[in-house]
Symmetry: C2
Subunit: 242 residues, 2 copies
């Protein structure tokens, strides 16, 4: 499995993804599930992927090919006029990849992949989308300011409770690390290292990229600190009189 | 869906279950998923159920019938000599119910149900089992002191972090309420009221039974207190220097 989160706040967008892929428990590899494209001053696009690794790599591969070749009449990720058009382009690419794979005999379900797309293109706001394996998509809103793909349940409660659209960059990083740490502690199919990208609204450039390895001092501080803080929080609650 | 937890600690066993059942989002009902049998001084047996409601009710119904009829050579829940035999009896009953339903045309998967069984019979320790839809089962151990069935992911991280086998009855109740509250806040298919049963080791009698309704003052205190405590815990963690 996989765990990826994209979260929109007033200050920008933040993305985090794990790096574990597995085809059976004895066939585990590390692949980045975060892809970032940018042209300084014009656009920053981040794509997180979950699902069949052949499908997600084929989608990324085709998107990169389009940028390299620049066919007339077929805008690449570097030419789309808005994030909405970018979501359409990726949705179409997902559909093509799955359609091309399906006739080989297996059902389309086996090739399924989901994506979180976020970023900003000059003239447009920072936007965040969830792209389904069917190629259609939804956009985040003030009521639903974040999307998760993959093994999303363990890490959802803390995001639901601690998210605040006005939160600082530091709090957003902390929030996602806590959400990932809860998932890592509960599910073997999600694994370190974690990739993070923090995009600051209206910067139209790469933001802060960071990979958290197992021994990263900040990740260790959060992981250990959160266990202690949770236990203290737990003990601060009143007891039922029996 | 459903969420049920059975947890073993040094002082005894604690069980909690939600009461929501649904066949589609517009067909929601309240059914208890906790069944308690006891004979004072001899045994206390608790069974939590998740899955197809017709299957779980048929299992409970057959177990009750066996107690009422007391066929010779077929021990009922009131006659089994150990908790292991009790698990075997329930496993056999689950298999019978699913086998009887399957020939009507649907696959056996549609009738699947899982159970958490716990209790104590004189001469035996307090024991906790997880019974699969196939009728086989596993027993808890010091490494795996709790079982969850149904919508288990949201509420697992807090149990993993705050469980302590030496915990007090009050802390055990608090822990399960926090775990249920995290699940209730994230998933509509799990709903109040919550049923609880706390069994004290070697009492061989019903323990503390309680139903937490939506406006139960202690449940409200835990639910609100936990949101605040989590936010404080979150803010107590260090920030990453950017």
């Amino acid at each position: 499995m996989t765990y990826c989160v994209g979260l929109k706040m007033d200050r920008g967008l933040i993305f985090m993804s794990d790096t574990r892929t597995n085809a059976g428990l004895d066939n585990i590899s590390t692949f980045s599930k975060m892809h970032v494209w940018s042209r300084e001053g014009d656009r920053l696009i981040v794509l997180l992927s979950a699902g069949n690794l052949a499908t997600t790599q084929a989608v990324i591969g085709r998107l990169d090919e389009q940028i390299r070749i620049e066919e007339p009449g077929k805008p690449s990720l570097m030419q789309t006029a808005s994030m909405f058009q970018t979501a359409q382009l990726i949705g179409t690419t997902v559909k093509e990849v799955i359609r091309d794979a399906a006739p080989a005999g297996q059902t389309a379900d086996a090739f399924a992949a989901s994506f979180i797309l976020g970023g900003q293109i000059r003239g447009d706001e920072p936007r965040l989308f969830y792209i389904y394996p069917e190629g259609n998509f939804i956009e985040s809103s003030p009521d639903t300011p974040f999307f998760q793909i993959g093994e999303h349940k363990y890490g959802k409660p803390i995001i639901v409770r601690a998210y605040d659209r006005k939160m600082s960059d530091e709090d957003a990083i902390k929030l996602l690390l806590v959400s990932f740490d809860s998932t890592l502690k509960s599910n073997l199919s999600v694994g370190l290292p974690l990739d993070m990208h923090l995009y600051r609204a209206d910067s139209f450039a790469r933001g802060v990229s960071k990979r958290f390895e197992r021994n990263d001092p900040y990740y260790v501080a959060i992981s250990e600190g959160w266990s202690d803080a949770l236990r203290s929080a737990f003990h601060s609650l009143p007891a039922l009189a029996l």
